[in-house]
Amino acid sequence: MLPQLIDVQRVLPELIWCGFGVLVMLLQPFVRSRQFFTFLALLGSLAGTAAAFTSLLHGGPGFFGLVQSDSFSFFFRLLVGTVAFLVVLAAEPYLEREHLPVAEFYALLFFATAGMGVLASAQELLTGFIGLEMSSISSYVLAGYRRDSLKSSESAMKYFLLGSFATAFFLYGIALVYGATGTTLLDKMAGADETSTLLKLGLAMILIGLGFKVAAAPFQVWTPDVYEGAPTPVTALFSAGPKAAAFALLLRIFATVPAATKYWFWAFWLLAALTMFAGNLGALVQTNIKRLLAYSSIAHAGYILVAFAAVTSMAQGGSAEAAPAYAAVLFYLLSYALVKLGAFTIVSQLGGAGEKSLSLDDYAGLSQRQPFVAAMLSVYLLSLLGLPVTAGFFGKFYIFKAAVNSHLISLAVLMAINSVIGAYYYLRVIVVMYMREPSAEAAALGPVQFPLGVNAVLLITFVGTILFGVYPNPVINFILRPSLLGH
């Protein structure tokens, strides 16, 4: 049987992203213009994102149920496509500054984005595995893209070794689940014997594999080193894209496999609690802004896992009950991606040649040298902190609501405590920017130039953060649709 046109339409975004990736690689030996590749990359990421609308219009299962094109995958395709677009905008001046080739970077970015798209739409475990590998392998290379930097190479090596170890867990889990159920299609697993040890073990392995990707404690140790060593635009990508995609697959497994929701409640409870504390306590003592944001992203994975615990606790009463908890995860990922992209873009720009100015001391008195940049970074940090009139506030609010809905008061209180711990280190950055005087050499250097592309990223993420913080209705109404998953 050959694939039908409709099948192609249902994976169109991924096809476009892959196609542009291949095109960039093919043209690379012939074209020397950097602008040309940047233009191609912007065009490709936008085209793929636009194609997500086509996939939504022609929604349904594709390729015999291997992928599912529904509102859920639409949301994530839109998210990762936008992330890719913004990363291109932010990376162009960075690559120029660091004298790095552009074409390979964009090609890898395309493959990673396609992988994330596959992850978000996969409805079959091996397809999910392929998506995971596509995005991971590209990520390993991207992490080590600054080849002459020891830190970058270390970052890539660490990511690769630990990442492939985790992928092995994931693959082994798939094998066990297949052994227990006789299928790798998620929607066919509903009838399987839920008490089978093999199935439970397999699902646990899958959870470990994905837990690594989203940086859940105790699988989070790689995060700070990898985030610190990778080129900053790549760090921005890591914190926004692959994490969201891995969460997407995890969420889909829940929504479709009843056995998964049944046994994972305590696993998620513990993961959430551990991850929040690991991230926030780790961040308290950081003096490097990239490491600080890395630990903060661990903490935020913990908050999202709180919503997962709520899903598992609610889902036993039927998936309709769990809809607000799903919505909480989706909204959080969106707000979080916006904020982290904006913050890392500023860090990338302020880092200067060779990424030398990354310590908190370099941010002293930033509000006087560059008031707008300081104000924007403050808004991003306040959004991470969860203060009102930012998207992060509603993200946190919906997660709190999901937790309280599921009677997980204890977890909600733990999250509240963690928010306060988090407040301390986010405030520390703001304090340094606003309440300390700039060092003499920093003042002598004068303001750092912010090129047009970077400003565009900042504007988009800033407007998004405020807009969804004042009026989240459109997004919330969309992700609360009953037909979010499947058709």
Partner: protein, 530 residues
């Protein structure tokens, strides 16, 4: 349900427009920026006076309500309204803001534009909190005012400003995040964030919370408010924040922000969780009394004048909490009155301390002494304000404290007896510190040539003094308008023991109360002066 236009929305957002206008202006013309800030804040005050017409005396329930949809899922509404209690707290806020602007006229010299932007944004948050009738909206403004205040302390404060600012934010956030969990829990139980709807459901018996749930919810709210008040033993952020804050920050902090805590107790804790409030009342009262006496004792031994005033706030706010949790009509009225009176008197005290600091750059009492010789006018104002703060009859502090003690006595004479100790102690520390600062020999040479109050300072202080005197004599103007709201709260918390309404005709009654107690007042004074 809806009447009277958009006055309240104007009140909330007008300072924000002013702040936005300031932000786009050029930052180097300081005079112009100050003038704009003053104009905006005075206009805001005039707008807020219009509330006096919009809220009829004796009308129960919320007035001037505005209600519109905001968030679709979960249903959150933009719902604002005002009653007798919140009206005067808003008036206090809008009155103190221009005063703060004037007080910062010369003392703020760097980053002037940002300073006034923050001050106006603070006003937005505070007015929003007082007017919100949706629990979610309330929380939103509650968090919103945190950042401007933290910046005011952290950028324009004194030496340990950063420490104080961070401590302030962390303390407040610790409470408020738990309150958010409480708000969501309450939503889960009731299906709405709308305060009047929840109150009706509770009153009508459609909604009954299990005792344990009610207690936990009560604590979630109460904890946030108690930190803000601050109630002993959660008060440790206050002295730091006050001492480090610039004068305008201290005025707003003591004058208005502390009242948010007591206002929250009146608006949320008592009406929503009456059973839990009754169960907790005894413990809260004990903490309040400890706060009254502890705050006063610490004030007495303070070598730092600003810290002394800060600890006196702990003591005075203890009275307010005691008055609220005595569940008596008169003490509730007294609590509201004391909130307003404390805002004026302590605000004025901080202004005076700030003026001394502008001249000498120190708060140490030992650095002063004999100041009444070089600056007789300032000394006179200081004495006037100190007397009002310690509760001299005819001035504002007396009315509140007396009503609180009167009401509390009828519920529990022991509480009143202990709390009365605080009245005596406050006379001791205020008069003793006054003596050390203004009387005696001039010990430090520099003090001989200090300039007396300038015209600007005299205007500020005279305004404060007029209000102090007016509140002491014309207390009926306020109590008539707060009576119904106070009565409503008492009915909600103790339906079976509702007392007869003490208003609107009771203006005269209250006046006679002031008269009969004049003797007690002079006794106290004698004790204090010694």
């Amino acid at each position: 349900m809806l009447n009277g236009g958009h006055l309240l929305s104007v009140l909330i957002f007008f300072p924000a427009i002013g702040a936005a206008a300031l932000m786009v202006l050029r930052g180097d013309d300081h005079k112009f920026i100050r003038a704009i800030a003053l104009a905006v804040s005075i206009a805001e005050f005039l707008f807020s006076l219009a509330m006096l017409r919009g809220v009829p005396i004796g009308a129960s329930g919320y007035q001037l309500e505005e209600f519109s949809k905001w968030i679709s899922a979960p249903p959150i509404h933009y719902h604002v309204g005002v009653d007798g209690i919140s009206m005067f707290l808003v008036l206090l806020t809008t009155f103190l803001t221009p005063i703060s602007v004037l007080a910062s006229w010369n003392s703020i010299q760097h980053r002037v534009k940002e300073f006034f932007v923050m001050l106006l944004m603070l006003e937005v948050g505070v007015v929003g909190v007082f007017l919100s009738l949706d629990t979610f909206l309330f929380f939103l403004f509650w968090e919103l005012m945190l950042i401007p205040m933290a910046f005011l302390i952290g950028i324009w404060g004194h030496e340990r400003r950063v420490y104080a600012a961070v401590k302030f934010v962390l303390y407040t956030m610790a409470g408020s995040i738990l309150m958010l969990v409480g708000i969501i829990w309450l939503y889960n139980a009731t299906g709405t964030f709308d305060l009047p709807t929840i109150q009706q459901a509770l009153a009508g018996g459609q909604l009954i919370l299990a005792p344990r749930t009610e207690m936990l919810l009560f604590l979630a709210f109460f904890f946030a408010f108690a930190i803000k008040v601050p109630l002993f033993p959660l008060h440790t952020w206050l002295p730091d924040a006050h001492v480090e804050a610039p004068t305008a920050g201290s005025v707003m902090l003591a004058g208005v922000l502390l009242k948010l805590g007591t206002y929250g107790m009146i608006r949320f804790c008592l009406p929503l969780f009456p059973e839990a409030s009754r169960r907790a009342a005894r413990w809260v009262a004990v903490l309040a009394i400890i706060g009254i006496i502890y705050g006063a004792l610490v004030s007495m031994v303070q070598p730092n004048l600003k810290k002394l005033v800060a600890y006196s706030s702990v003591s005075h706010l203890g009275f307010v909490v005691l008055g609220i949790f005595a569940f008596h009509n008169i003490s509730m009225q007294g609590a509201v009155y004391q909130m307003l009176a404390h805002g004026i008197s302590t605000g004025a005290l901080f202004l005076l301390v700030g003026m001394l600091y502008d001249r000498r750059h120190t708060f140490e009492i030992s650095e002063f002494g004999g100041l009444s010789t070089p600056m007789p006018k300032l000394a006179a104002f200081f004495l006037f304000v100190a007397l009002s703060s310690l509760g001299l009859p005819m001035l504002n502090g007396f009315v509140g404290e007396f009503l609180i003690l009167l009401g509390t006595y009828q519920r529990h004479w022991g509480w009143a007896a202990w709390a009365a100790l605080g009245v005596i102690l406050s006379a001791c520390y205020l008069l003793w510190s006054y003596q050390r600062v203004f009387f005696g020999e001039i010990t430090v040479e520099k003090n001989r040539t200090l300039p007396d109050a300038s015209a600007r300072e005299r205007w500020i202080l005279a305004t404060m003094a007029v209000v102090t005197l007016w509140m002491g004599i014309g207390s009926a103007f306020i109590t008539r308008r707060t009576a119904v709201a106070a009565q409503t709260v008492i009915e909600q918390v103790e339906p079976q023991r509702a007392y007869e309404v003490a208003a609107p005709a009771d203006g005269g009654q209250l006046r006679s109360v002031s008269a009969t107690s004049a003797a007690t007042g002079t006794n106290m004074e004698r004790l204090g002066v010694r």
